[in-house]
């Protein structure tokens, strides 16, 4: 298995996370993306390639340029990964909060 295609490996890198953040609000061509970083252009291209390979980004031809878009479905997969863990704790904490309410009333009286 190619680890590079793994979504979680892909977002482990700070530059790649910064690219995803940048593209969250707009689609941009490679040149414009590279202009946001101090990193060498080929390095940015490599990051874009990895993000595209694991489908976090989609390419779209527009005129002479290729624009990079965020793929919301794949981004959701990352959120879903943490969600069961989060909701497990939320269930516990909600129980805790409800359970402790009577103690609060007792003290107030």
């Amino acid at each position: 298995m190619n680890l590079r295609r793994d979504v979680f490996q892909a977002i482990a890198d700070p530059t790649r996370r910064a690219i995803l953040l940048l593209l969250a609000t707009q689609a941009l061509p490679a040149g414009a993306i590279a202009a946001h970083f101090d990193t060498a252009r080929p390095t940015v291209s490599k990051h874009l390639q990895i993000l595209t390979e694991c489908e976090l980004l989609k390419q779209e031809q527009s005129g002479r340029e290729i624009y990079y878009h965020l793929n919301p479905h794949k981004m959701k997969a990352i959120a879903d990964f943490i969600e069961p863990f989060r909701s497990m704790w939320e269930d516990r904490f909600r129980k805790l909060e409800t359970m402790m309410q009577p103690y609060k009333t007792k003290k107030a009286k």
């Binding site: 979680f8 977002i11 482990a12 890198d13 996370r17 990964f81 943490i82 069961p84 863990f85 989060r86 909701s87 497990m88 704790w89 939320e90 516990r92 904490f93 909600r94 129980k95 805790l96 909060e97 359970m99 402790m100 309410q101 103690y103 609060k104 003290k107």
Partner: protein, 155 residues
């Protein structure tokens, strides 16, 4: 609100941060986390031992309807500062997830509200990711058990 509990788990790091604000004064939040009868209720497990003091320890045990032990965990309490802080280890018996270090910080927000932050540090990134994925696997198992129960009633 649905999104009260925040989980922060950065990729490639061996830690998880959980933050939750409570509609409770800090001393009640702290009691809920340090008294055996209270912990057992909200954690949904039997608390066999909970010695909430510096150099204390604890042991959880969950049993199914037939009394079979399905989950056991234990740890050492390194520091217990009333209404402020809890530092402990946590380890599931017979699991491949290793031991984790937990720093629980309690903070008063107002007289009636407080914040809990749980900082969990794992042995490795892989082990942390495995723990994050746990509710997935458990969810599947639980659904499966429930299905078995329903099916056995149909027989």
């Amino acid at each position: 609100m649905e999104t009260k509990t925040q989980v922060h788990a950065e990729e490639g790091k061996q830690e998880i941060k959980i933050t939750r604000e409570f509609n409770l004064p800090v001393h009640l939040l702290f009691r809920a986390c340090t008294e055996a009868e209270l912990v057992s209720q909200w954690m949904g497990t039997n608390v066999r031992k909970l010695d909430s003091r510096n150099h204390g320890s604890y042991r959880y045990e969950t049993t199914d309807k037939e009394g079979r032990v399905v989950f056991q965990a234990n740890g050492t309490i390194h520091a217990c500062v009333p209404d402020r802080k809890l530092v402990r280890t946590f380890e599931m018996d017979g699991s491949p997830y290793g031991v984790q270090l937990e720093i629980h910080t309690f903070e008063p927000l107002t007289e009636d509200t407080s914040r809990l932050q749980m900082h969990m540090i794992y042995e490795s990134v892989a082990q942390r990711d495995a723990v994050l994925k746990l509710p997935f696997t458990q969810g599947i198992n639980w659904a499966h058990n429930r299905l078995e129960e329903i099916v056995s009633k149909l027989k």
